[in-house]
Point group: C2
Chain length 354, copies 2
Amino acid sequence: MPWAYALCVYALSCSMWRENVFPMNVGIKDVARVAAVSPATVSRVLAGRTVDPVMRDRVLEAVRETGYRPNLAARRLRSRHTKTIGLIVADIRNPFFTAVSRTVEAIAYDHGLRVIFCNTDEDAAKEAMYMQLMQEERVTGVILAPTREGADRIAHLESDFPIVLIDRAAPNASCDSVVLDNEAMAARLVVHLHRLGHRRIAGLFGTDTVTGRERCDGYERAMAECGIPGEVVPVPHEREQAQRVIAALLGDVARRPSALVVSNSVMLQSVLRVADTLGLEIPRDLALTSFDNEPWMEFVAGGLSVIEQPVEEIGRTAVTMLLDRLDHADCVTRRVVLAGRFIARGSGGRGAEA
Amino acid sequence: MPWAYALCVYALSCSMWRENVFPMNVGIKDVARVAAVSPATVSRVLAGRTVDPVMRDRVLEAVRETGYRPNLAARRLRSRHTKTIGLIVADIRNPFFTAVSRTVEAIAYDHGLRVIFCNTDEDAAKEAMYMQLMQEERVTGVILAPTREGADRIAHLESDFPIVLIDRAAPNASCDSVVLDNEAMAARLVVHLHRLGHRRIAGLFGTDTVTGRERCDGYERAMAECGIPGEVVPVPHEREQAQRVIAALLGDVARRPSALVVSNSVMLQSVLRVADTLGLEIPRDLALTSFDNEPWMEFVAGGLSVIEQPVEEIGRTAVTMLLDRLDHADCVTRRVVLAGRFIARGSGGRGAEA
DNA sequence: AAAACATCAGAGAACGTTTTCCCTATTTTT
DNA sequence: AAAAATAGGGAAAACGTTCTCTGATGTTTT
């Protein structure tokens, strides 16, 4: 009784008898028989190759009549191209990734490619498992937002298919990649806060990603250039732990900075939660800036000042690069660095930027 | 030059020569040769069937040595079970669906099932295309959040695989389904607002989904029971259009209600946007209640009062039902109705609920 | 000790396509 | 008008597995 937790379970329409209108499995041979042609001809018609029009029509009619649907497994086995790409993201709850995924999917389908979508939850083991799956699926290529371990592993790995890294890629990565200019964008946030008069600016960055690393570098560089000491706070991915770390930072009045640079929107939500429980008002008690832009950010904390990533462009570029790589396998690896857009709203506090 | 828009493109590591350490395509036969056994035996070892231990070890060693990876296309073709389920959602940007997807994926993988993830963007044509794809993939089953047209179509359709409807299902649907008790939950929101003293409560519901329909019914019933006239506002899915409709409602001071019941979180964001541009403060000028709970909702409009859906339970139940249906194909169809949880925060305005 | 039975490895068919090869019919060239 | 070239359809192989069937090797029963 697996539905014990259900509010109620209705049972309906008793006899769903399977009267099979069509023979259970219609194959290309059945179509061929009905159309009185050879299987090869049916295949040719379906592939859109030149076939005598009268035969073609006979085949098409037979397809309609029999309700034939090609078997993709068989097709892929024989033709040896799967027309499938893998998309492996690190956190499906992060709207940045869902936005990129949506674009990737749409563009891939425009190119007649199916996409296998996977979510690793920042878990290197799951990631490895999925990469193996990609191999077993004999995918055409993979678009991957790797964990840090994953990024390392890929550097040493010679895979059977091209890989395009998104969002996270070491500068010396051995495959194509499309990333944000994380350093510059993190620096932009620091400069923004500095101009607003903040001098105690802490940086919260993920411990497990090269993206976090890069943003941290940009933060540190900018802080140095501003001539103020920085405090880098490594924040784990898991929500509970993240909130503990943040609470430790903000709960101690002596330690508490006046402003924060936060590495992404899920981390930002942990910050908001902690600030709320501590009774901190934003931006009065704590100024906030972050990466990623989402609709609700307009309405929180007087409008959050953030770096917006060009999500469509990231997705589009990734697919384009992958496709291009298929044609030019031995070409040099490329690294595309995209600029983000800084959106100034109210969460920086302390008067307006010049 | 498809990267004209790039901030910069680095070209790296020139000669990625493909020195194939292993023969390009290692098959089960190659493994068999190396292990000096028959292909059948290799297959048996890989399937975990009883094989002489010494042979088994030889095979395992040969697998390691050759770097063999099974070809899933071939396996699926021959064995005639794909161990794959389809998951078709209507809007990947809606966090409700991403949350459900995450659960479905995790549970499916626990059961050794792969999932093909698809996003229809509320487009019936895309949905139909994906359903056809599922057929061509010969999936084991499908979990589907249908558009309204899709729900209608499925009622007449006799598909080759079981389908479990989630989130949206007509009460008379011809397949298994797991849904929220939309009527009761919508009524709950109305009652909440009524108790707070609101008398002019409008309901905003999607035009294209049976979920919207059901929530609307609950809203109307509850309004009638409270003895106050309701105003139902159909809101299209597309963002621009949605905002126009909402602006028309809230912009006209005479027409403007004092409180709103909103059907989901993406619609809610449109409401927030419009309220913001109109300079309406929440809950002072407009009380707000909605479906779906997300972390940021704590921090907007004094805390949004919402109906939280049991997302994990929905995903888990859907997979369980699908699996169960495979064992009991001719069983009656089941409809699981889950209760949501009402979370009262501040956005209802006008004093506290009794 | 012989007969019946169980166990398990190998040979080869099968899964549903695409593709190669060959052959015929037609068109083009000389 | 004959020869060469081209086009397009059919037969059969091939893709990499799993599965059925058969036979051999032990193991138990009488």
